[in-house]
């Protein structure tokens, strides 16, 4: 049943039949092709068509090497085993698995999530866990619970575009703090929080991706973790730790999570999307008890309950399959692809600089001075290669000289071919730069439009 029956007489419908007679010059209203235009909430202002986003439409075509997406490589999953799990689940427990469940999530899965998090030295109780529709929904719930319009969220520079879009939707202001090869810089964070406090601005939380950062490809060092927490503690600022890539490190054991060092200061988000499969849409938040209460209520109002079927399927998978062995399969696969990308970059793009990820999906590449990754994307699409321009990962329009390259989905050979094509595009851009010199940024840049691809992009 529709909750919004259309009114019977649209204020500015095209009125096709009467149009010929209605041409009283000057005075009449035009047609905006959207009768609800004046009804939208202010927060929709940035929800516009974007020519950058439209360019990604070609990226899923096989002729194009997409280094733009973030899809995990699911052909590496044991699909037969998962089919068996799904079959048994419906046949034997369908009446429960297909029913509504608890808003906080199924207890059996929350117990297993607690076990999963021990890999990162997190000691939590199943009661502290809220299961969500992907960790993306946890981001939305935390934003809904904490952010009033105008509140400040402090985030890394660059930062995960999906989180920036959530914070924007709640009309928060985003202030970036620089990173280096060891992740977020605690001193810069301290200075930023001090400055914001002096300006009387209200900072609600620090948003951080400490492990194998999306898009920067760096990890917050062990030494810096207590320092970051200390800064936030002194400033009375909550930490939102978004940690979907923690188990996808290529070297050594996962570092202890920020949540493992302070359970009262940190809301920790996790996900099965990268270690298992995003199609189940199961992530989680671990929060101090009072915050958790609010997250559960907010979750119920958003979705009533997370997917019952997905939760039971994942619970069964964790119980009956060597899931850590599967994570290792993924790690080895992504490591090979990372190597292919770094080798190809060294071979073909010596004039650029890039990060050396020790896990996760992404390399952050910075172009030679004067080049503009966003302006370059149409040329790249013509050359059949796609990337995400750095601007997508900043709330303030910076990042033009950088781009995110993903190595999670294409094979090593495709990655090498993609980097080779990209190098050709960069070469062409350098020739244009040589001809014209540096031309600065466009004068009429639209701010805040969504310049990132949708989640279905390879």
């Amino acid at each position: 049943m529709s909750q919004h029956p259309p009114p019977s007489s649209p204020p500015d419908a095209p009125a096709a039949s009467a149009a010929a007679g209605a041409a009283a010059a000057g005075s009449r209203h035009g047609n905006r092709l959207d009768r609800w235009r004046d009804t939208y909430a202010a927060r929709t202002a940035s929800m516009t068509a974007s020519e950058i986003r439209a360019l990604f439409a070609v990226a899923n075509r096989p002729e194009v090497v997409s280094l733009a997406g973030g899809m995990p490589y699911l052909p590496a999953l044991p699909l037969d085993a998962i089919a068996g799990i799904a079959q048994r689940l419906v046949a034997e427990r369908g009446a429960v698995a297909l029913q509504y469940g608890s808003g906080q999530g199924e207890e059996v899965l929350r117990e297993q999530i607690v076990e999963v998090m021990r890999q990162q030295q997190i000691h939590a109780h199943p009661d502290d866990v809220v299961v969500t529709t992907g960790s993306q929904q946890a981001l939305d719930l935390v934003a809904r619970v904490f952010l009033d319009p105008g509140d400040v969220v402090v985030a890394e520079a660059p930062s995960y575009v999906g989180a920036l879009n959530v914070f924007r939707a709640y009309q928060a202001q985003i202030v970036h703090v620089p990173m280096d090869a060891d992740g977020l810089q605690p001193q810069a964070l301290d200075e930023t929080l001090t400055r914001l406090a002096a300006q009387g601005r209200r900072v609600k939380f620090l948003y951080t991706v400490p492990n194998h950062h999306n898009p920067a490809g760096v990890t917050l060092s062990l030494e810096r973790r207590p320092a970051v927490l200390d800064v936030c503690r002194r400033h009375g600022v909550l930490v939102l730790e978004d940690d979907p890539y923690a188990l996808l490190g290529f070297e050594g054991d996962p570092l202890p999570a920020l949540r493992s060092m302070d359970s009262e200061l940190v809301v920790h988000l996790g996900s099965f999307s990268k270690t298992f499969a995003p199609g189940f849409r199961v992530g989680w938040a671990v929060a101090p008890h009072a915050v958790r209460e609010k997250l559960v209520l907010a979750a119920e109002s958003a979705v009533l309950c997370p997917t019952s079927f997905g939760q039971f399927a994942i619970a069964e998978y964790l119980q009956t399959y060597d899931w850590l062995g599967q994570v290792k399969v993924f790690r080895e696969l992504y490591r090979e692809r990372r190597d292919a990308m770094l080798d190809a970059l060294a071979t073909h793009l010596p004039q650029a600089t890039w990060t050396h990820p020790d896990g996760g999906f992404y390399v952050w590449l910075t172009l030679p001075d004067g080049l503009d990754a966003k302006a370059m994307l149409p040329r790249a699409v013509t050359a059949r290669v796609a990337f995400v321009p750095g601007t997508a990962f900043y709330a303030d329009g910076s990042g033009r000289q950088s781009m995110r390259l993903s190595y999670c989905f294409p094979t090593a050979d495709r990655i090498r071919e993609g980097v080779r094509r990209l190098a050709g595009v960069v070469q062409d851009e350098l020739e244009v730069l040589e001809t014209f010199g540096s031309v600065g940024t466009p004068p009429h840049e639209r701010q805040g439009s969504v310049d990132s691809p949708g989640p279905e992009l390879a």
Binding site: P14, N31, E51, R61, P443, R446
Partner: protein, 313 residues
């Protein structure tokens, strides 16, 4: 008898997304009017599929690149398939904006002064002197656009010399030749020309008033971001001149079945030709469907009539 129609949508151009949306709308309308419709992408599977299915009519709703430059239609000719839209040679004329302007000017229709500047010109003669000369010649504001392409991609109105280099470089992202064109103040309008059941119709002009003044990609494809007046708010005699100019441009370029001709109507009421589109947009926010509605016609019937024209041609 209802013809079997294959709509081609997608392709590998910068306008793939727009083409997919246009193609869906055309297919929907044709199905509603009783046609059996298949939608195919322009990829390596296309020719085998066409050979197998031998549709009665192919409707290429492909924007940009091979969809508009005549290349795909050459192939349809090779396959001896009937198709909606202009022949390859006319597509080539319309697709190259400076060439189209020359042809249309020769037919007695006003066009803005323009100059086509390949990248090599800047490289060989030095960017600064060429930019300075182009700026001095056209005066500011002026318009910079790629010589080929649609959806206003790479198009900029440049207010002063300081922004000219950036605009030219952005146009080069979409192709090897940039056009610098004098800016014509006035009313922006689009006139669609269709051949329905063999009869050529010039649809009412659609006037475009974009928020912020620039009918760019965002203004084109964000519902609500642009105000349209259909028919355009023009005096009757100006409306007549505009319709004649649109028909004149359509015929001078040898366009067929469906086209959209974009103009600025200057303060004297003279229609000034900007460009012709052999594969105009057919999305929810596109101009041609608004022209159809302003004519008091049904979209389904018009699209069906266009197919009929191609079918019996």
């Amino acid at each position: 008898m209802n013809p079997r129609v294959t709509v081609l949508a997608g392709g590998l151009s910068h306008e793939r997304d727009v083409s997919l949306r246009s193609g869906r709308r055309v297919a929907e309308a044709l199905r509603a009017s009783g046609c059996e419709v298949t939608v195919l992408d322009a990829d390596a599977h296309l020719l085998p599929r066409l050979a197998e299915e031998r549709p009665d009519v192919v409707w290429p709703v492909l924007h940009g690149a091979i969809g508009e430059d005549g290349a795909l239609r050459d192939v349809l000719e090779l396959l001896e398939l009937r198709y909606v839209g202009s022949r390859p040679q006319s597509c080539r004329l319309a697709w190259d904006k400076p060439i189209a302007a020359s042809v249309v000017r020769a037919a007695g229709i006003a066009v803005p002064e323009h100059i086509a500047l390949p990248h090599a010109t800047f490289r060989d003669l030095g960017a600064q002197p060429v930019l300075a000369a182009a700026g001095a010649w056209a005066g500011f504001p002026l318009v910079v656009k790629p010589s080929r392409g649609g959806s206003a991609l790479g198009v900029a109105v440049v207010d002063g010399p300081g922004d000219l280099a950036r605009a030219v470089v952005d146009a080069f992202a979409y192709g090897d030749t940039a056009v610098v064109q004098q800016h014509v103040p006035g009313t922006e309008v689009a006139v669609s020309v269709v051949e329905v059941d063999g009869e050529l119709l010039v649809l009412p002009a659609v006037e475009i008033v974009a928020d912020g003044g620039s009918y760019d990609y965002t203004a084109r494809y964000t519902a609500g971001a642009t105000e349209f007046f259909a028919p355009a708010r023009l005096a009757d005699d100006v409306t007549d001149r505009l319709a004649k100019a649109a028909r004149g441009a359509h015929e001078a370029l040898g366009l067929r079945h469906v086209s959209r001709i974009d103009f600025i109507v200057d303060p004297d009421g003279t229609p000034v030709f900007l460009e012709a589109n052999a594969a105009p947009g057919m999305t929810e926010t596109s101009l041609l469907p608004q022209g159809v509605a302003a004519a008091g016609l049904e979209l389904d019937a018009v699209y069906r009539g266009i197919v009929q024209t191609a079918f019996t041609a």
